[in-house]
Symmetry: C2
Subunit: 166 residues, 2 copies
DNA sequence: CCCCAAGGTTCAGTGAACGAACTGAATAGG
DNA sequence: CCTATTCAGTTCGTTCACTGAACCTTGGGG
């Protein structure tokens, strides 16, 4: 049960296709997700994603080339362009929560209001779209399996984009 | 310049990973996008996406199995679960429009207000999240290349989810 | 000076995507 | 009624990306 993705969609003139050429390859959106969660180091992505080193290396390079990540010393940090993908990552998470998961795994809380964002992506208190830096992740009951240091660090509530300490 | 995707993320316990197991394979989100645009027939997807027939067949089957599409005669139609992916598809489109494209290719207009939705995904007039069935697609200058019948049909303004006539 | 860890690169094997050719059912025409 | 043409797939050989293991390189620390 393994799948494979090609990387370009040359004959499509559509913004969705352009977007998928950048973030549509296998693993890429999970790397971006981890970056939102505060993962920044090669070895942390590696242990948290269970991804082949060669693939991680290639994906990080292509994300830097595309301008979604910035390499700051040994750290890979989301640029504004990368942070603008939050609506997509969050949309996928909320869609899966409502259609594929039996119990909630992660809840995103608008720090200013203390309220978890709704299924439509807005804060129920202030009725606005909340940028990732104003959100805190809390884990729900559906999240119990992994035991690597990164997964453990991600279990305690923390603000998005804030680097994790392992 | 071709890429490959595997299809599962077995060791990830995360809603984003679950979502990508369903819609993360190559071509899948473009098929869903076309379904929003009103494409319903095997041969219409085929000609519009330039996808190998075998891959299209496999993807459509797996989308039906996952409950995103319903097979109605020869037509593949989005279910509610599939329509709930609009925020993701639209998010990718808007992200690419603002970061990857020089000119807008498609604009989504809230029919009730007559206003194009903003970069944050809300209608500027009513400040709300608009469901796809209340949106109309208009094409911009960035969209000129393809000449197959489906691309031509999609060029005239039309309501999302409404079947195209070729 | 040696050892270790972090951050990669290289390489053989496997599996998915690709594209062309083929099948089979359902109309359409004569 | 027989044939031609779609439409909707399946089959199959080739190509290409992912996978996992081994190897390499750089930078400290003891």
């Amino acid at each position: 049960m393994r799948m494979a993705l090609g990387k370009d969609y040359a004959r499509q003139d559509c913004s969705v296709a352009r977007a998928l050429e950048v973030v549509g390859e296998r693993w890429t959106l999970l790397i971006v997700r981890d970056a939102f969660y505060g993962v920044r180091r090669f070895s942390d992505f590696l242990v948290h994603l269970d991804i082949p080193r060669a693939v991680l290396s290639a994906r990080l390079q292509s994300l830097v080339e595309s301008g979604l990540l910035l390499k700051d010393g040994q750290d890979y940090v989301l640029t504004e362009m990368g942070r603008d993908l939050w609506s997509v990552v969050h949309g996928l998470a909320r869609w899966a929560e409502s259609h594929l998961m039996s119990e909630p795994s992660r809840v995103f809380v608008h720090i200013a209001c203390g309220a978890g964002v709704r299924a439509d992506g807005l804060c129920p208190a202030c009725e606005r779209v909340i940028p990732p830096e104003d959100l805190e992740v809390h884990v729900g009951p559906g999240l119990l399996r992994r035991d690597d240091p990164v997964s453990v660090a991600l279990r305690s509530p923390h603000r998005l984009l804030e680097p994790i300490r392992t």
